[in-house]
């Protein structure tokens, strides 16, 4: 290309900036050639005209040659430019690298601070991306909606699922939905030759796969016919379960296994990554759905609808509302006008994804905001460092400029350095984010939906890259603000850099950064503080039971053997005997003080809702209140430590069907305000004898979660009273064991052995302590609190570093002034106070702005708070005190240094 010698580059490449230039060069070259030829020919005796004709003829198509040359030269030029640009880049980065290696401490602080800030943001973004932003893993995800029935008349936020009758009615008549599929999360025991294993089962309608847009990997999926009662028993295997349990053997299709004591044929294998929304199914089974069954007001089915193409959710909502209002005329027996009115039975159609993510979306956005604030604070620190650096290099820059350095080139030099540091910080950030995500997956917070889908995807990588590039650009441009402004370089040079007082502009820019930092820290710490207070409040709530020292697990009795097809009390005998035997044998284990069982464990299962009729009140089916209805064994109250006034039913009560029930205090107060509930009579579902009679009243019990009011519950016995067999035998129960052992889980193996000895086909599932269950009910608060506390802590440390840095720097800058002051008689204490006062001024300004910001923004936390107002004065006051102390502390060391200034030495140096 060129001979490479600097200064004598070929002219073609030094100047050509445009196509016109290239064309001009070509023209000149060809012109020279043609002229030379013509002269040659004239010399040999031709006339000029003849010579011109001869040359043109020889040359051929001149325009074509010219175009060809231009094309070649353009390409040459482009390649050359790229080469130059690459060279400059390599030079700048090489210099930057050397600069970094010369100042490793500076580089390390910058990289670490940026890495921490960007890493935290990247991690939370990855979480938000996987949980909230990414569509659900269904091909038709965008068109899937969830359908449910809000019943504000029953309970403020209660929503019921779909009923079987409603399903058939909606599916047939909906204009906005193409189709509706149903599902239920359930569990079943898969029995093989050696052991009974409890598996997570997805019970679905025959069209589920088609509605979500999935095809079976092997075999077939279900059809509507599989849902009919008395259809042959079939099942599909979930992908991972098939791989693990059956080694991915395709021959498993067509074989038979025992599922819930019933032989079923495996007809297919589900595709990879197909699950129910937020539920990893191991086995898929058809729901039993009977289109000819009489309509029953029983809402137990999750419903997914698929919108017709182009139909909006709002249109589907209107359509569903129209159908819902027709329910009373279609099914007069199940949906009476009174019921519709009292329960305020409605319908809600929402995007399926919103439904799956629920409130976590809000929490994650708040957390992203929090880590973004941490990142800004971290960035402010780094910006401050760069400003100090720029100040120190002011002379170097000025000399370079005075010697004629190109401003653009200088800018490239600075940006290369900051870019390199930021990119290294970005790499560190990705590493930190990866670690944070792994840690989170290990913690496995139950409050985060779709957790198995969380990973550090390329989207998070892009976020980290963009943030580092942005940081690099801004940091590189910071020292250039001076260049752009021009400034009088000569005067700086003339000063000889002796009185290196930072320009007023620089110092105020640095103070402004620290004020902003403090303000952001105040907001973040206020948020963290509010969460901590909420958490404390939640933890100090008396749930009405004692969760410590209690082990719980579930047992499921095979329906076919334990719920025989007979009527009357005999139908309950097998279940009754099993549970009584189990309770007695568990109670005999060493260390066990009490054993109880229930169909709906507090804090874990919903209490359900059934109408209750009270003797002496003229409730009708329309006016009777709907209250929590829980079947509980005799030992339940003492095991959970629920205080009961009166007496607790015994096994004899159950056996003799005396109809003794316990009610919760909240229910008693509503039904019989000011009266003693003991001895009152009530019954579910229907008026007139036989009545159950209340023998005991519990204290206030919280069964939904710690931030909900006490529950209204009737605790019914396992066997209904004679003449009113209203519920099926309770084959699925949760057993609770109170033990003196320090770790309740240590009882689990013995409990498993006992259950297996009683019936080897009965699986034990969901073994966990009651404390874990209670913790899960506050999991969202705990999760938000922990992450906000971590963010707040980081903000605190980073701001401390920031304010310390600025005060420390000012003291160093003001050494001459301090020296003069001391020479004029100022006391060390006065000087110290001056420094601390300066720090406090900065801190106070930051705190004031931060408090205003906190007042304006903490409202977004409202839904996460419990028992604390978003502007809780204790929290805000605490944060203020904390940061004032921080301001004073950060000034301590610089103040001490200021008092040690030796006036003589300083004055001599001046």
């Amino acid at each position: 290309m060129s001979d490479g010698r600097e200064g004598k580059r070929p002219r073609l490449f030094r100047m050509p900036t445009s196509r016109g230039r290239l064309r001009g060069d070509i023209d000149r070259e060809l012109h020279f050639h043609i002229e030379g030829r013509i002269e040659e020919l004239i010399a040999s005796g031709l006339t000029r005209e003849q010579a011109e004709r001869e040359v043109a003829q020889r040359f051929g198509d001149m325009a074509a040659v010219r175009d060809q040359l231009e094309e070649i030269d353009t390409r040459t030029h482009r390649r050359h430019e790229l080469g130059e640009w690459r060279g400059a880049l390599a030079r700048d980065f090489g210099q930057a690298l050397r600069g970094i290696l010369l100042r490793p401490a500076f580089a390390a602080v910058v990289v670490l601070t940026l890495g921490l800030g960007i890493g935290a943001t990247t991690a939370i973004y990855a979480l938000l991306d996987a949980v909230v932003l990414r569509p659900l893993p269904y091909p038709n995800a965008a068109r899937l909606v969830y359908i449910e029935h809000p019943v504000p008349g029953v309970e403020t936020n209660a929503k019921w699922r779909m009923s079987q009758a409603g399903y058939f009615f909606f599916r047939k008549n909906s204009k906005a939905l193409e189709d509706i599929a149903l599902y239920n999360k359930s569990e079943a025991s898969l029995v093989t030759s050696d052991e009974a294993e409890r598996v997570r089962a997805a019970a679905v309608s025959g069209n589920f796969f088609e509605v979500v847009g999935a095809r079976p990997l092997l075999g077939r999926s279900f059809t509507d016919a599989d849902n009919l009662p008395n259809a042959p028993q079939v099942a599909m295997l979930g992908y991972s379960f098939w791989r693990q349990r059956f080694n991915g053997d395709p021959r498993v299709v067509g074989t038979r296994v025992s599922l819930g004591s019933v032989p079923v044929t495996i007809v297919g294998v589900a595709p990879e990554k197909l699950d129910l929304p937020d539920y990893q199914a191991q086995v898929w089974i058809p729901l039993e759905l009977d289109p000819n069954a009489p309509a029953v007001n029983s809402h137990y089915l999750d419903a997914i609808g698929r919108l017709r193409p182009g139909v909006m959710v709002a249109a589907a909502q209107a359509d569903a509302a129209r159908l819902t209002s027709r329910l009373p005329e279609e099914f007069p027996g199940a949906y009476t006008p009174g019921f519709m009115r009292e329960s305020r039975f409605g319908v809600l159609v929402s995007p399926l994804r919103d439904r799956v993510i629920g409130a976590m979306s809000h929490t994650l956005w708040i957390l992203l905001g929090a880590v973004a604030i941490v990142m800004l604070i971290a960035f402010a620190n780094v910006a401050n460092l760069f400003l100090v650096r720029a100040e120190a290099r002011r002379r170097e820059t000025d000399i370079r400029l005075a010697l004629g350095a190109d401003r653009l080139h200088l800018a490239g030099h600075y940006i290369a350095e900051s870019m390199l540091l930021s990119l290294i910080g970005g790499v560190l950030a990705v590493g930190l984010a990866y670690g944070a995500i792994r840690f989170l997956l290990v913690l496995n917070p139950s409050s985060v939906p779709r957790l198995p889908e969380v990973s550090l995807g390329w989207q998070a990588g892009v976020v980290a890259l963009v943030l580092s590039l942005g940081a690099g650009t801004v940091l590189g441009l910071l020292p250039l603000t001076r260049l752009a402004l021009g400034g009088d370089r000569v005067s700086t040079l003339r000063e000889g850099g002796r009185t290196q007082t930072a320009s007023r502009g620089q110092l105020s820019a640095r103070s402004a950064l620290v004020v902003a930092q403090m303000a952001l820290a105040v907001m973040l710490l206020a948020a963290a503080g509010l969460m901590v207070r909420s958490f404390q409040r939640l933890r100090s709530v008396q749930p009405g039971f004692d969760a410590s020292g209690v082990l719980t697990f579930e047992v499921s009795l095979p329906y076919s053997r334990y719920a025989p097809n007979v009527r009357g009390p005999a139908a309950y005998l097998p279940v009754f005997r099993f549970h009584r035997d189990l309770e007695q044998q568990l109670a005999a284990l060493p260390g066990v003080t009490s054993v109880g069982m229930t169909q709906a464990l507090a804090m874990k299962d919903g209490d359900g809702c059934a109408l209750v009729f009270v003797k002496g009140r003229d409730y009708t089916r329309e006016t009777a209140p709907c209250v929590g209805t829980v079947i509980a064994g005799p030992g339940y109250f003492s095991t959970l430590g629920i205080a009961v006034r009166g007496r607790v039913p015994t096994w004899a009560d159950v056996d003799d069907q005396t109809g003794a029930v316990v009610v919760s205090k909240a229910l008693a107060q509503r039904m019989w305000p000011g009266e003693d509930p003991i001895g009152k009579e009530l019954r579910p579902n229907g008026t007139g004898a036989p009545w159950y009679h209340v023998v005991g009243v519990t204290g206030d019990v919280l069964t939904r979660s710690l931030d909900q009011p006490p529950s209204e519950i009737v605790y019914y016995p396992m066997v209904p009273i004679q003449g009113a067999p209203l519920w099926s035998p309770p084959t699925h129960m949760t057993v609770a064991i109170r033990t003196r052992a320090p770790d309740p889980l240590s009882l689990a193996p013995a409990a498993r052995r006992l259950v297996k000895a009683l019936d080897r086909e009965v699986p034990v599932a969901n073994v966990q302590t009651m404390e874990t269950i209670v913790e899960q009910s506050t999991a969202r608060t705990t999760f938000a609190m922990l992450l906000l506390a971590v963010a707040g802590g980081m903000a605190l440390v980073l701001s401390a570093v920031g304010i310390y840095g600025v005060i420390s720097y000012t003291v160093a800058q003001r050494r001459p002034e301090i020296g003069v002051r001391m020479a004029l008689g100022a006391q060390a204490a006065q000087v110290g106070r001056m420094v601390v006062a300066q720090s406090l001024r900065v801190a106070t300004a930051g705190i004031a702005i931060g408090l205003l910001g906190a007042f304006a923004t903490t409202r977004v936390l409202q839904s996460l708070l419990f028992g604390v107002s978003p502007t809780d004065p204790v929290t805000l006051g605490g944060v203020t005190v904390l940061l004032v102390m921080l301001g004073a502390l950060a000034a301590y060391a610089p103040a001490r240094r200021a008092t040690k200034v030796d006036p003589v030495e300083v004055l001599r140096r001046e």
């Binding site: 002219r11 000149r28 070259e29 050639h33 051929g60 030269d73």
Partner: protein, 112 residues
């Protein structure tokens, strides 16, 4: 006028490189040199020469510099770069291997 020899494909590069190995020249000089040395037997058109020069410049075999001809006119001078020199060596050896092979074939035909 001597009989024109059709220029063998690919030999133009070799001719230009060899010509420029004597020193920097502008396009017209290259053309004249080839014509003179080959006693007008090889006729190269401008339509072939200039694209070849520019292409070789792009490949980095030739460097180009604006200078003045002995009649004091502005002209673009080409010269060999180090890469061009290497290329010339390679082309020469390729050419001699090629002509050897062709000569062998011709000699063999004569012996029949």
């Amino acid at each position: 006028m001597a009989e024109d020899l059709d220029l063998l494909r690919g030999t133009l590069d070799l001719l230009i490189l060899k010509t420029l190995s004597w020193g920097p020249m502008h396009g017209l000089a290259v053309l004249r040199w080839i014509e003179q040395v080959t006693e007008q037997r090889l006729q190269i058109t401008e339509g072939a020469l200039y694209p070849a020069l520019h292409r070789m410049e792009q490949k980095g075999w030739l460097g180009a510099d604006w200078g003045y001809s002995n009649r004091n006119r502005e002209a673009k001078f080409y010269k060999l770069t180090a890469a061009g020199r290497r290329q010339l060596t390679a082309e020469l050896s390729k050419w001699s291997r090629y002509t050897e092979a062709v000569n062998l074939l011709i000699a063999a035909e004569g012996a029949r």
